[in-house]
Symmetry: C2
DNA sequence: CAGTAGCGCAACCTTTGGTTGCGTGAATGA
DNA sequence: TCATTCACGCAACCAAAGGTTGCGCTACTG
């Protein structure tokens, strides 16, 4: 059983800078490469590249407005990504709990042997 | 408000190969660089590097046994990482409850699809 | 003791996140 | 109208990370 996750989507959300960008876009209700770079420790060009990545996986959506290019979060897509994050967490959680139960059962059997 | 996450731990779990390695280690109850590489599309050396990363952030624990080096998952640490994964989702959820509702709806629809 | 299995080290390649530098087109103000 | 300025795209370049091959060492095994 694999985790069945879209690795492109995951790795898009996996980058710390891109997470902060999504954060900012959500907080401000959108923004441009320039406005984002002002609130981040990286250059506008770096931000632009990240926006390209986010755009390609459909997490953001761009609308040219005069000489600006305004980006907004596609909330449905982000919701899908968040859902997949939780799904991975749930998978490991389930497996950890299963292992724990097995360990406890073995422990009980050992104690039964001794008596 | 940042996501307040340990980026080292996140990026350790963020790599697809390392996620599959953790998966395999949990499934088999431990393993070596060689046994893992047999079940993965990468070489033993690549696996060894990843094990180094996982070891450095404390997600796995190694015990030399003869000419082997057996690795096992530190379940407590992994549980912490999983909790942080959920925390990221929770942060975004808290800011936009709308997104959370959409995510849950998608989740329900997926489950409905499976039945 | 000869052979093999598991591993570590080192050199190298490619991708990716990041930078600087430069050119271009859309607002803006005299 | 025209010079300026602001937002952007493109290109070259750099460093870190994931991945590979090649080599040598050491601990088991026949």
């Amino acid at each position: 059983m694999s985790t069945t996750i879209d690795d492109d989507l995951w790795s898009a959300v996996g980058d710390p800078t891109r997470r902060r960008m999504l954060d900012l876009l959500l907080a401000d209700g959108g923004g441009t490469a320039t406005t984002l770079s002002e609130q981040l420790p990286v250059t506008r060009q770096a931000v632009a590249k990240h926006l390209g990545v986010l755009d390609r996986v459909g997490l953001v959506h761009v609308t040219p407005a005069g000489r600006e290019r305004r980006y907004e979060v596609d909330e449905t897509q982000l919701a899908r990504a968040v859902a997949q994050l939780s799904a991975v967490g749930a998978t490991w959680d389930a497996r950890l709990q299963r292992i724990k139960r097995i360990a406890e059962r073995i422990q009980r059997e050992k104690e039964a042997d001794r008596s």
